[in-house]
């Protein structure tokens, strides 16, 4: 693997994904979970731009990336709203402490 710009970006994508998934596996705080999700989305955004560049269709990649940012902001907003409700009703942001549904 040579050190050209594309590979560096690819490395960045993989790194962000790794951080994101690892974070999802260990995080219990709802706000942090939302942050981790955002890290994952950023990895994807990077990947989309990279894919656009690699296939010679940078414009498409970039426009999609921009749309994804908007769409996932909505998800983040909904997630934060839910987190606020959880904090209000259950008094905690720890997802493990409010987990009652199982089996």
């Amino acid at each position: 693997m040579t050190l050209n710009p594309l590979n560096i970006i690819l490395f960045g994508v993989v790194l962000l994904l790794a951080v994101g998934f690892y974070g999802l596996l260990i995080t219990r705080n709802l706000i942090k979970i939302v942050l981790v999700l955002q890290i994952l989305v950023k990895a994807v955004v990077l990947a989309l731009v990279l894919a656009g560049k690699a296939s010679g269709n940078l414009g498409l990649g970039q426009s999609i990336a921009a749309t994804v940012i908007v769409a996932d902001t909505i998800v983040a907003v909904v997630a934060l709203a839910l987190a606020v409700q959880v904090r209000r009703r259950a008094g905690t942001l720890d997802i493990a402490r409010i987990s009652t549904l199982q089996g």
Binding site: A47, L48, S55, A71, V86, L101
Partner: protein, 508 residues
């Protein structure tokens, strides 16, 4: 007639949705107007859905008359309606209408009633749109929009921690899935330079070998969309979400949302059609796993909505088996059976959740109790609620695959496909599926028994009555389940084009 008429099926509910919200906020500081607002909101929603039905009929007419797919484009965004789109549209519209009808008394007076109907309308439009997407990114957009609206609907009872928990888990898992899908899209884009499904197909069939990136993309699509379709072991959000949502939403989630996810997955996978036998085998494996796991988990449930949620897992399993068989040996029976079972699952599971919802409404909600409905609460319910009990029994027995009910016929059609071609593995799988149906009776039948017990339980004793608007959807859906069970060819106008479109999609 205009071939782009079908886009209005998408635009109308989506466009009216904010109006419903606004109508529900009209003079919201005046408490005495609550009833009027409530009627206005429901009336508007119903009216919109009726108009959408009309559009559906008109565009269907066009579709069948011209015998080709309907297309629409706005700059670079393409929408296309084929048999699968129409199947999904019919399911979504049908169940959506009944849920709106049903939800009247159920949601009346709850905080955020107008949001409920606005979201419901929006999700109907979104799902119809999802079925028509022709571009991978466009598909993802619809998918994400559907996900966001369903998070809000699942967590509708925002004062109950359990609903919030279910909503939160659903959100996190779905968002993870959606990230995976986007990664897959990036891979496809990187490898082919386009996101138009047809062009991807062309690009892939021109290439001599499948790049590893596309294989990875396929895996990401299966898992990413699979979260929404509730493949085992990605299903963990489903029992929580389906049991905690308002019953009308449970019906929508189980009856159409997971199916819409499946359609999205198939659309995405079909672009990578180069190795469709592998897809077929994957679907078969997940199908067998879903069926078995769902049944065994349902066996031990005491809460009826949770039981129904697990039964959805097993029914997705049957559908996957039908699709898998169609992909493995190109059998039209498998595709048509799967399409038929998709449709039947919508009406059966919709009926089951609505009937449970009606009983829950009368037994618990009306008495101000908010807790899950247990199977034991239903003891002797048939005495007091003969109609809801009969509807629930019909739904459960149909889900269990007993004739003369709808589930029997669609399962049969899937089973036929497995035996055609005399592949011993597929035949074994079908026998396994049939034994699973028997296993499922072990948890459906006791509920039916409980309903018809002579001992009227204390909960039933204290129950309120079920309003007429809730009973109407139950009657219609129950009749549909019986009639389709007696005359299975009644639905082939819808399932046959869907099966055809499915096979065309995968290049069979």
């Amino acid at each position: 007639m205009n071939p782009t008429l079908f886009t209005w099926m998408i635009a109308l509910p989506l466009g009216v949705s904010p109006l419903v919200y606004l109508a529900g906020r009209l003079g919201s500081h005046k408490m005495e107007l609550t009833n009027i607002r409530s009627w206005l909101v429901r009336g508007l929603a119903l009216l919109t859905l009726s108009a959408t039905w009309l559009l559906f009929i008109l565009s269907w007419d066009k579709f069948i008359g011209s015998n080709e797919n309907l297309q629409f484009n706005l700059e670079s965004i393409w929408l296309r309606a084929d048999g699968v789109s129409f199947l999904l549209a019919a399911m979504v519209l049908g169940l959506g209408t009944f849920v709106v009808l049903f939800s009247g008394p159920y949601i009346a007076g709850e905080v955020g009633e107008e949001k409920y109907y606005a979201m419901l309308l929006a999700i109907v439009g979104i799902m119809i749109g999802l079925g028509c997407a022709r571009d991978l990114f466009n598909l993802w957009m619809w998918f994400e929009a559907m996900a966001v609206s369903s998070y809000l609907l699942v967590a509708f009872y925002r004062e109950h921690p359990a609903s919030l928990e279910a909503g939160m888990k659903y959100l996190v898992q779905s968002a993870t899935g959606s990230v995976l899908v986007l990664l897959g899209i990036a891979l496809v884009l990187g490898n082919t330079g386009t996101l138009d499904m047809d062009k991807i197909r062309l690009a892939i069939s021109a290439a001599s070998s499948t790049p590893l990136g596309l294989v990875l993309a396929g895996a990401l699509f299966v898992i990413g969309f699979g979260v929404k379709v509730a493949f085992v072991p990605l299903h963990t959000w489903l029992p929580d979400a389906h049991s905690q949502a308002p019953s009308g939403i449970s019906a929508m989630l189980s009856g159409v949302v997971i199916e819409a996810g499946l359609v999205a997955m198939l659309r995405a996978l079909s672009t990578l059609g180069g190795f469709s036998v592998s897809w077929g085998m994957l679907l078969l494996a997940f199908g067998a796993l879903n069926m078995f796991y769902g049944n065994l988990m349902a066996l031990r449930q005491t809460q009826i909505k949770r039981m129904l949620a697990y039964s959805s897992l097993s029914h997705i399993g049957y559908i996957l088996i039908g699709l898998g068989i169609a992909l493995v040996n190109g059998s039209p029976a498998g595709a048509q059976g799967a399409a038929f079972h998709l449709f039947n699952h919508t009406i059966m599971k919709g009926l089951a959740f609505l009937a449970v919802g009606a009983l829950m409404f009368a037994l618990l909600d009306q008495n101000g109790i908010h807790r899950p409905l247990e199977v034991n609460d239903l003891s002797g319910a048939a005495r007091k609620y003969p109609l809801a009990a009969l509807a629930l029994s019909i739904a459960l027995l149909a889900l269990g695959g007993l004739p003369p009910l709808a589930g029997f016929m669609s399962k049969w059609q899937i089973f036929v496909a497995g035996f055609q071609g005399s592949n011993p593995w597929l035949m074994g799988l079908v026998i396994f599926a049939a034994l699973n149906s028997v296993l499922s009776l072990a948890y459906y039948a006791p509920v039916v028994n409980m309903l018809y017990r002579r001992n009227v339980g204390a909960v039933v004793e204290g129950g309120a009555s079920i309003p007429l608007t809730m009973n109407i959807p139950l009657v219609i859906l129950a009749l549909a389940v019986v009639v389709i069970g007696l005359l299975p060819s009644l639905m082939s106008w819808l399932t046959e084009p869907a099966a055809q479109a499915f096979l065309v999609m995968f290049g069979k």
